[in-house]
């Protein structure tokens, strides 16, 4: 096995034993990254920073002061601000932007000794489900079963592809409507979106502030538990970050879920659901039952309204958040014609800097917040959101510990295949994941099978607020029972 394909847990143990050094691990990843340009996952490589931090990690390991992530090479989604390193949310409007500060999450990872290999491709401003809206071009899924190039999903498509292709041991992702879980499912890896407020949003480029939450993307549930431990925690710089103790997530992986109640929501059985997804879901249900869990049919009656509510609320918040890109303080400013004033500067800058999907969402958000429509769209969507959250509160109050659903309505599709589709058709990718963001709950995608073509499929587990430890343990049981070990065959 090559060093870059180690799990975080195995690499940690090998580093502590002195069987391998952080520099060796880092060099293996840097080599793999340079050989994988065809995937277009890493868009800003930082080999000097990586080697410098790896040397520091080795010194720390030798002194015996080594947290779990010390010396572990990781990739960082381009949405995270990293000091002195390009951070442009895959948008032309932030071309050339090099933050003077470091996001809280990447600071915490850095302080724990993790080694940043570079910045990862994504959908522009995290708006997309196929990684086709990036200013850097598409990310290609390392999974390939015919002559088509497949999407890795989005928006954290670069993170998913990099982890699946063994370019790094783990990566940061962010999830506003499914952007960690959907790409994780499309690439056969694990991705967890924690409870809203578990991880600080400070220094993460904002898309929809009431929905955005960062989390780890890794090859195993144990690795997700380890990495989340370094990312989570209270931050005075994010007023919505929760002042709660971060549990030892890895210690929670006991493999015992006897007596746990797992809810199966009937509303997630969509019309026209492919039989393969149906089977994946019932197989997963059987695995949890065999492990001693009690399976309970539940109802989440407002599920159907989650996507339309999301596509009011998220663009509304985006239109407000993205108002800051005005060509004044950072990033791109359009060349102006003689006589152009400040309004022309704003309009030309934003027309040149934002791609079509971002423009579309900003304008939809502007419309639903505009005078005369605010109540009809935005307030109504916020009321429906309250009802969606109440659906979950009711099933948890009835004793349900976790909810099992498919992660995505299909396996990865071909890049370009949705080019002529209605924007709404692309939005349907998030149908199983978006409820979790609206309700602020933790959700995790676990790879549990392959479709008939040999592409990975994942299931989603949804947990109670602040119940990541318990959720990870249930995911761990599912992972062990499914025994998913397939890897993409290297073609790049």
């Amino acid at each position: 096995m090559t060093l870059n394909s180690l799990t975080i847990a195995d690499a940690r143990d090998a580093l502590r034993k002195g069987d391998v050094t952080a520099v060796e691990l880092t060099q293996a990843c840097l080599g793999a990254i340079d050989a994988a340009d065809a995937l277009n996952a890493f868009v800003h490589k930082t080999p000097e920073i990586a080697l410098e931090r790896a040397r520091a990690a080795d010194a720390r390991l030798q002194s015996g002061d080594a947290p779990a992530m010390c010396g572990i090479p990781i990739g960082i989604k381009d949405l995270f601000c990293t000091e002195g390193v390009a951070s442009q949310a895959a948008s032309n409007i932030l071309r050339g932007f090099k933050p003077e500060y470091e996001s809280t999450i990447t600071s915490q990872l850095r302080n724990s000794g993790a080694v940043m290999l570079g910045k990862l491709n994504m959908d522009e401003f995290a708006m997309g489900s196929s990684n086709e809206t990036a200013c850097y071009g598409d990310v290609v899924n390392p999974w390939k079963v015919d002559d088509r190039r497949l999407t890795p999903g989005g928006s954290s498509g670069g993170s998913a592809a990099a982890v699946a292709a063994d370019l790094c041991l783990g990566a940061t992702g962010t999830d506003t409507g499914g952007s960690i879980r959907q790409p994780a499912a499309f690439t056969g890896i694990v991705g967890i979106k924690p409870t809203y407020g578990r991880c600080s949003r400070w220094g993460v480029v904002a898309f929809a502030s009431s929905l955005d939450q960062a989390g780890p993307m890794t090859r195993t549930v144990r690795d997700a538990a380890i990495m989340l431990g370094s990312m989570a925690g209270h931050d005075v710089k994010d007023s919505t970050s929760a002042d709660l103790t971060v549990p030892d997530f890895e210690a929670a992986l006991t493999g015992d879920i006897k007596g746990r109640k797992i809810g199966i929501p009937r509303e997630y059985r969509m019309d026209g659901m492919p039989p393969e997804i149906e089977k994946l879901w019932s197989d997963g249900t059987a695995m949890l039952k065999d492990a001693g869990a009690q399976i309970v049919d539940i109802t989440l009656p407002h599920t159907k309204y989650a996507l339309p509510a999301y596509y009011v609320i998220a663009p509304a918040e985006a239109s407000s958040n993205l108002a800051r890109y005005d060509g004044v303080r950072y990033g791109h400013r359009a060349a102006l014609a003689a006589g152009d004033g400040i309004t022309e500067m704003y309009e030309k800058t934003r027309a040149e800097g934002f791609g079509p999907e971002v423009q579309r969402r900003v304008m939809i958000g502007t419309y639903v917040l505009s005078a005369g429509f605010y109540d009809a769209y935005y307030n109504r969507a916020r009321k429906v959101r309250a009802l969606i959250k109440r659906d979950f509160e009711q099933v948890f109050a009835e004793g349900i510990d976790a909810i099992l659903t498919p992660a995505t309505p299909s396996a990865a599709f071909g890049l370009g295949e949705m080019a002529d589709a209605d924007p709404v058709e692309m939005y349907l990718n998030d149908v199983f994941t978006v409820t979790v963001n609206l309700a602020g709950l933790p959700g995790i995608a676990v790879p549990t099978g392959l479709d008939s073509k040999g592409l990975p499929l994942g299931l989603q587990l949804i947990g109670k607020p602040w119940g990541e430890a318990d959720l990870l343990n249930t995911a761990y049981v599912l992972e062990n029972a499914a025994g998913f070990v397939s890897k993409p065959a290297k073609w790049w």
């Binding site: 003077e100 304008m363 769209y377």
Partner: protein
């Protein structure tokens, strides 16, 4: 079925401060109409007596003393500006 006419599309683009050439307005209007029609499913939901959600986790925002906690970073703040002069962000003339 909600429809956005060309004038409304033009007005939304103006409010969003995004320059949209006239020839692109019909396509924009059509796309926005499609998305709004999708959103109109929300009209089926009975929301009588429901308060709009303001915070997904019930928490009281933290308070702290109203004092300066950061500052003296003029050069850093201006370092990414497309045009900065003499310690200021520079923009085209705003006032005639």
């Amino acid at each position: 079925m909600s429809t956005i006419d060309l004038e409304t599309a033009r007005r939304v683009a103006k409010l969003a401060r995004i320059a949209v050439p006239d020839e692109n307005l019909p396509h924009l209007a059509q796309e926005l109409s499609g998305i709004l029609t999708f959103m109109e499913q929300l009209n089926e939901v009975d929301v009588e007596g429901i308060e709009p959600m303001t915070s997904v986790t019930p928490m009281r925002l933290k308070r702290r003393a109203d004092g300066v906690t950061d500052g003296d970073k003029q050069a850093k703040i201006l370092s990414n500006a497309p045009d900065a002069r003499e310690g200021f962000f520079a923009v085209p003339k705003v006032v005639e």
